[in-house]
Every structure is written in C-alpha cells, then in structure tokens.
C-alpha cells in the first residue's frame, strides 16, 4: 500500500488533490481511497488530506500516520506545522515553491531524505501562467506522478479531465504535464551531481 498525505491551506484544493489522485489510481486499475482530514476547511487554514493506493481492497479508515509521500502545496506551512510527522527517510517529498530548500531555510531537513525523492515544483507559478489562478493542486499531481511512479502522468491528466471541464481542465492538464517535466529535469540534474 502506498500512502500519501497532502498539506495545504483551505482554498488550494487540498482535498480535491487527494480525490483526483485516487481517481487517477482507479483509472490505472488500482484500488484507492481518498479522504479529508477530519477538520473544518476555512480559507487559509491548514488543511490535510490523504490518499491510499493499493492492489487490493483498502479497509482501514484511519488517517495516514506514516506516509510514503508528502505533498506540500503551501511552503509557508513548513515553519508553522509539523508536516514531517511520521515521514520516514525513504519517503517522497514534493514541495510547491519556486525557491530552493536553502532559500526556504529547510536545507538540513531536506538533506534527511534521498536526493531524488525530495523535490520542488513551482506549481503556483505554472498555474498562474496556464490558468490565471494560483491553484497548485492539479499541477502538483503531475509532478507527483513523475516523481513517485505511483500513478501514470496520463492517468493524472485523465483524472483532471474527469473533474474539470473546458479551459480549467486543459490548463490544469497542461500544468500537470509541465510539472512532470520539471520533476524529470530536476531528478536527472540530481542524478548527474550525485
């Protein structure tokens, strides 16, 4: 079972991200379960959501305590919330930011993870360019798929098209593919320097 925890703020589509990931996994033929943290969503408040992906029925209803992957939709949470609770050193970490980990002041923390598994994607910038709105959730899923291989990028795009229509669907789909390329480039860069 592959378990993902999403962190963001109310209004950034944190819950929708987990739901779309579960749809992508379903389209890949897997079993998936997505659900919000049991918290009230208010615009700007920290929000958590979860997604589990497996080859068989998922029975547990407990929140994800030890995620295999962490998606951080809002980097300002890094210094406010204990995002890394239960996250092992082999986990994948994807942060939405246009800064480096040094600039964010978490270089030491990022250094605890495998270099090819702790990456950044400027998802808000990509979303602003393609959608005209700072909604990073669907864009990040493209990066997530490229980084983890837990779902195909094509499945993420299909899940986006199932959720949204028209320009919003196309902008998000393009953004997801753009994020996937960013991740691929970043990883090959890391691999070259390792």
């Amino acid at each position: 079972m592959f378990q993902v925890r999403f962190h963001g703020r109310g209004g950034q589509g944190v819950v929708t991200a987990a739901e779309m990931l579960s749809v992508a996994a379903f389209l890949d033929g897997r079993f998936a379960q997505a659900f919000p943290s049991f918290g009230s969503e208010r615009t700007g408040a920290p929000v958590v959501s979860y997604c589990r992906i497996a080859d068989g029925e998922i029975r547990t209803r407990a929140p994800v305590e030890s995620p295999d992957a962490l998606v951080v939709q809002d980097a300002t949470l890094l210094h406010q919330v204990d995002l890394f609770s239960g996250v092992g050193s082999d986990a994948y970490v994807l942060v939405n930011t246009s800064h480096t980990f040094e600039e964010l002041g978490i270089a030491e923390l990022a250094g605890r993870f495998r270099a090819d598994r702790v990456l950044t994607v400027p998802a808000t910038e990509i979303a602003l360019r393609l959608l005209g709105r700072p909604l990073p959730n669907a864009v990040l899923l493209g990066g997530f798929a490229a980084m983890t291989g837990a779902v195909r990028v094509d499945a993420v795009v299909a899940a986006i098209r199932e959720r949204f229509a028209g320009q919003v669907a196309e902008g998000n789909a393009e953004g997801a593919r753009a994020a996937a390329s960013v991740v691929e480039k970043e990883r090959s860069g890391r691999a070259a320097t390792d």
């Binding site: 962190h7 109310g10 819950v15 987990a18 739901e19 579960s22 749809v23 996994a25 379903f26 389209l27 079993f31 998936a32 379960q33 997505a34 659900f35 919000p36 943290s37 049991f38 918290g39 009230s40 969503e41 208010r42 408040a45 920290p46 929000v47 958590v48 998922i58 029975r59 547990t60 209803r61 407990a62 929140p63 305590e65 406010q80 919330v81 204990d82 995002l83 890394f84 609770s85």
Partner: protein, 422 residues
C-alpha cells in the same frame, strides 16, 4: 458501473435509482453533499417524476416526508446530528404512524460543545423511536443498504434509517459498483402503500389513542420490528442473487472461527478492526470481528450465534450512555445472557477522534490477556482530564470545561495530525 466516487455522490445515485417521488431535506454537515447531488438529479431531469422540496428546518423536512408518504409517495430525506435532534418529534411520528420513509443519517456527534465530526450519538439518540437502523461499513455497503431499505420499509410499512459515518464515509472517494436501473427496478417494485390519504376514500391517520389501545399499537410496532428481523436476511439473500454481491443482513463475521476474543462494532470502524485482527492473528493472538449491520431491530440471536465459542467480547462503539455504559455493549450483554462470556465496552472515535490500528491492536492485546476493564475510553488523554478536575477542585468559578481544555492543549499540539484544522 464501477466508479471511483465520493460516498455522498454514490448514495445520491443509489437513492435516485430507487425512484423516490418526494425528497425533502435540509442541509447539514456532513450530509450536505448527498442532498446537493440529489437536488442536481432532480433539477437536471435525470430523476423524474420527483419533487424536491426546500424547507426551513429538519422538523419541516421530516414533516413533509410524513405528509408525502401518507399521500402514497415514496419519500426520502437525510440529516445528521443536531438536524436529527431537531426533527426528533417527527421521527417518532413517522414510526408511530408506520410510514415507510427512508432516511440517511450521516453520523455526526451532538453538541455541546459543537462538533461537526463523526460519532454515533445522533443515531443512538433515536434508537428507541421505532425505526429500523442499518449501519454501513463501506460506501458500497451504503449504496446497497439504501436499495434494501426502500424495499424493507415499504413491505413492512415502517421507516428505515441508513446510518453511514459522517466524513469517514460520506467524504471518502473509493470504488463503488453503482447498480443498473433495471436491476433496481426488478428488486424494488413500485410503492403500494398500506394506508393512504385519499379524498375519495377518506381516512384519518394519527388520531388520538387512549389507554384502551396504546399498548396494543406499540406492541404491533414491536411485532413489525420482529418481522423485519426475519425479513432482513431474506432480502439480503435476494439482493445478492440480483446484484451479485453480498450486503445487508443482520450481522457480518470475520475470522471468528477459533477466536478467543471477538470484537463487535457498527459502521466504518469495522474495516480498521479487520486490519488489526489480521495483524493480531499473525502475531498469534486470535481475534474475530462481528459487524452489527442491523442495530434496530436488535438481532440478539444472530449476535449470540456469531460470538459462539469466544470467551470474551469487546464492543467498540462511537457513543455511550453518559453515566451508565456502552449502548451496543448493553444490547450485546443481553444477547449473551446465560453464557459464560465477558463483555467489555470500549468508547472510541467520539467527535471524530481518529481510531488508529495501533490503538486497536494494543486494546485487543490487552483484552486477550484478560486485563481490560469493563469500560474503556480509547486514547483518553488522562492528563488533560486531571488538569480540569484539579481546576474544579481549586476554584469555584473554574469556567467552561471545553474552553479550558482547548486552552490547555494550545494551538501547537497535533497540528500535523488529523486535528490540524479544527
């Protein structure tokens, strides 16, 4: 059709397939997505003929459902928590009148303090009202139970409540097989009311009944519940034959064979319990799991049968009778009376407190060692409790309890956990 879909949407689709003629509901978290989606079905013309009636309260929602049902319409509503309390008088009326209304309860805690998250105190508050109460373990279960609920309600002319855990199920995306309309139509014939308000053949429904017949009216309601007890397993068998999968019935069992300790529960926590049981079997601790699908009428015989052979029973429940004991545990104790089986009540998951597999495993290990007290509050923060008790001893004006506890916890604790955004 197999879909990856939100529980609320899946239930709305299932209700739509049952062709209700009147839907009247008032939105309340975590039920809102269900009735929004049914509203869309009606407005888009996919569910027709159906009248979606907007009202100003849950009391009105149940009252309109009563009126619609008495006029011979298939009636549906949904609510949760305070909404269920607000309609309570009409909830009793629906049962007392024997009107086959189907209602979803998206289980949520009851205030004060206000809490929008899941537990079973809402459903438990009306357990004696005379409704059949079915509890869904998964969203597939929720879909399948609604289809059986309409059939059962209309056959026996009594209302049926389908309980599904708020947020845990209503807001979870998972795969659900949505039935075909033709199969639902084959399983659920058009509504043929036992009593109907018809100007051409006037009758009154709900007139005053004095001591001369009130006991008999209530006894017949009880007898009808006992009829339901016999009918529910038959409908589950018929459902399986029509739809190709099992759902419903009185109780479900998992790995009870050879289990010294059996854990009994309602609703979605059964999934986590099964995972915990598997892990414990692997560790040499045999634990069986019994799910009570039908809570009212209470299937005492089926529960006793499912537990046969176990030495002790742990009842994990998301509600309790304050000042007394576990509610389901009380029913289970009665079902096992005369047998040499210890029954232990465990209150868990109140107000959305997550129930982790780790906590369940520790609990069940303790139970299997025979060292569980009669009543346990899972993951109770005893320090937090002690601090408030000290305050009440030290100061007469110790202030409001809930706010005191929140102040003690502060805003920094558990921010990354499930309580992140409360």
């Amino acid at each position: 059709m197999l879909r990856q879909i939100e529980g609320s949407r899946a239930v709305a689709e299932a209700v739509g397939l049952c062709r209700p003629e009147v839907v009247c509901a008032y939105p309340i978290s975590p039920q809102t997505h269900i009735i929004e989606a049914i509203g869309v079905l009606v407005k888009s013309g996919r569910l027709t003929p159906c009248k979606f009636v907007n009202v100003e309260s849950e009391f009105a929602a149940m009252s309109v459902s009563i009126g619609a049902s008495a006029m011979g319409a298939r009636a549906y509503t949904a609510t949760a928590s305070q909404g269920l309390l607000y309609m309570t008088e009409a909830v009793y009326n629906a049962a007392g009148l024997g009107l086959p209304i189907v209602m979803t309860v998206a289980n949520r805690a009851i205030g004060a303090p206000i809490n929008i998250w899941n537990d079973h105190s809402d459903a438990m508050s009306v357990r004696d009202a005379g409704w059949v109460q079915l509890f869904a373990e998964t969203n597939q279960d929720a879909v399948d139970l609604h289809i059986q609920a309409f059939r059962l309600a209309e056959e026996l002319s009594l209302p049926v409540m389908v309980c599904m855990d708020g947020f845990v199920l209503t807001h979870a995306f998972e795969r659900v097989e949505l039935p075909e309309q033709a199969d639902v139509d084959a399983f659920l014939p058009p509504f043929e009311p036992r009593q109907v308000l018809d100007p051409d053949e006037p009758v009154s429904i709900g007139a005053m009944v004095g001591p001369e017949a009130f006991t008999e009216v209530r006894y017949l309601a009880h007898a009808r519940q006992l009829q339901a007890l016999a009918r529910i397993p038959e409908l589950a068998t018929e459902f399986a034959a029509t739809f190709g999968r099992g759902s419903g019935g009185l109780v479900s069992t998992y790995r009870t064979e050879g289990a010294d300790t059996v854990v009994v529960a309602l609703g979605s926590v059964l999934g986590t319990l099964k995972d915990a049981a598997d892990a414990l079997w692997d560790a040499g601790v045999p634990i069986g799991v019994v799910g009570v699908t039908t809570f009212r009428p209470f299937p005492a015989e089926a529960v006793a049968g499912a537990i046969r052979g176990a030495r002790r029973v742990v009842v994990v429940e998301k509600a309790f009778s304050i000042g007394a004991h576990g509610i389901l545990a009380g029913d289970v104790t009665l079902a096992l009376s005369g047998l040499d089986v210890g029954v232990y009540a465990v209150v868990a998951g109140l107000g959305g407190r997550p129930i982790s597999e780790g906590s369940l495993r520790s609990l069940l290990e303790e139970a299997s060692r025979g060292s569980l007290p009669a009543l346990t509050f899972l993951d109770l923060d005893t320090q937090l409790v002690a601090r408030e008790l000290e305050r009440t001893v030290a100061h007469r004006r110790s202030g409001p309890t809930a706010e005191n506890l929140l102040r003690d916890i502060g805003t920094s604790r558990r921010v990354a956990g499930p309580a992140a955004s409360t």
